[in-house]
């Protein structure tokens, strides 16, 4: 499957909970429905909690990947306001 290109990318490395989700949520609120947000993070707990909370808010997780020793990438598609 062809990889979806993100409409917006945020780097929240160095942030911990709940600011990891605060930043991600503000970013996705400012986007249009159907657009894709890519989040780069290095806080392990958030690699589990952000996808869960985004799904609870009704969005779709397209990708969750550990890209190196310290970092993760999450891609989320905005599904609703």
């Amino acid at each position: 499957m062809e990889e979806i290109k993100p409409d917006k990318t945020i780097n929240i490395k160095g942030h911990v909970c709940p600011y990891t989700f605060v930043k991600s949520k503000i970013a996705i609120e400012n986007m249009e429905i159907g657009q894709v947000l890519e989040i780069l993070l290095d806080y392990e707990e958030a690699s589990r909690s952000i996808p869960k909370s985004m799904e609870d808010h009704g969005h779709t997780i397209l990708k969750l990947e550990k890209i190196n020793e310290t970092d993760w990438i999450i891609r989320v598609r905005k599904e609703k306001e």
């Binding site: 709940p18 600011y19 605060v22 930043k23 949520k25 503000i26 609120e29 400012n30 909370s53 609870d56």
Partner: protein, 266 residues
């Protein structure tokens, strides 16, 4: 929708709530709320509105801080005794949150100034301590079509109700006329237990948040009664009275009247 780093931290526990988020927080920052009274109820209501980032808070009160207020009026302090309550509260709320502008009005609200005072505000909160003011605020909010969150406390009891003109009941649907002065507790009978304004004021602040955010169910068409001695909350349904003199189908009160009638101001 832009927030500073400080705002993201300050409001983080709001932003992560599905019912609030960045958009809801922006609504709070843009909201303008008018408080009648900077006393027992006005202090906790203003405190929580300021903490939540309600951007503009107007407060009208003509009194100065007295030592006897400090047992329950938490925005004031021993150091501000003698200072106008509006000034004392403004200093407290703005110190808590620099995002908030507090507009203090040291004056009595009357039938002649109330409509001008509330004109630029979205919501009115009544924390007054006497019936003439309570009826004046009710009638003015119905005439000006402003949502009103009304609270009252006495001894070990508190009441809260939310009045949405054109949608629900009003204070006169509950109690059509002011009680005669003889039935109102005299000054020396009107004790109030210290934390009760905190309970009732917090309930009022939450009603205001829900109105601003457009979430949840308010106390529209209902009266909530808190009995602190029994530790009970009772929610009583209050239908709009079609015969109500101010919000009924054929109102007889279409402009503000004189409300003062020899009441002992508590």
């Amino acid at each position: 929708m832009e927030f500073s780093e400080e705002q993201l931290q300050r409001y983080s526990r709001h932003i992560i709530l599905p019912e609030v988020g960045g958009k809801g927080q922006k609504k709070l920052l843009d909201a303008r709320v008018f408080l009648v009274g900077a006393g027992g109820l006005g202090c906790p209501v203003g405190y929580y509105l300021a903490a939540a980032g309600v951007g503009t808070i107007g407060i009208v009160d003509n009194d100065t801080v007295e030592l006897s207020n400090l047992q329950r009026q938490i925005a004031h302090s021993t150091k501000t005794v003698g200072m106008p309550k509006t000034e004392s509260a403004k200093a407290t709320f703005e110190a808590l949150n620099p995002d908030v502008t507090v507009i203090g009005m040291k004056e009595r609200i009357t039938k002649d100034n109330i409509l001008d005072l509330i004109r630029d505000y979205d919501i009115v909160v009544d924390g007054s301590d006497n019936f003439p003011t309570r009826y004046l605020v009710n009638d003015a909010c119905i005439i000006a079509k402003k949502p009103l969150v009304s609270g009252a406390i006495l001894r070990f009891e508190g009441q809260v109700t939310t009045i949405i003109p054109g949608e629900g009941h009003c204070y006169r649907c509950l109690f059509e006329e002011m009680p005669p002065p003889g039935l109102v507790p005299s000054c020396q009978e009107a004790g109030v237990i210290g934390a009760i304004p905190g309970v009732v004021g917090s309930l009022q602040a939450i009603e205001v948040f829900k109105l601003i955010l457009g979430k949840g169910e308010t106390l529209k068409n209902a009266l909530l009664i808190y009995d602190a001695l029994k530790t009970t909350f009772r929610r009583v349904r209050v239908p709009r009275n079609p015969e109500c003199p101010v919000c009924g189908d054929t109102p007889t009160i279409t402009e503000l009247q004189d409300y003062d009638a020899g009441y002992c101001r508590l």
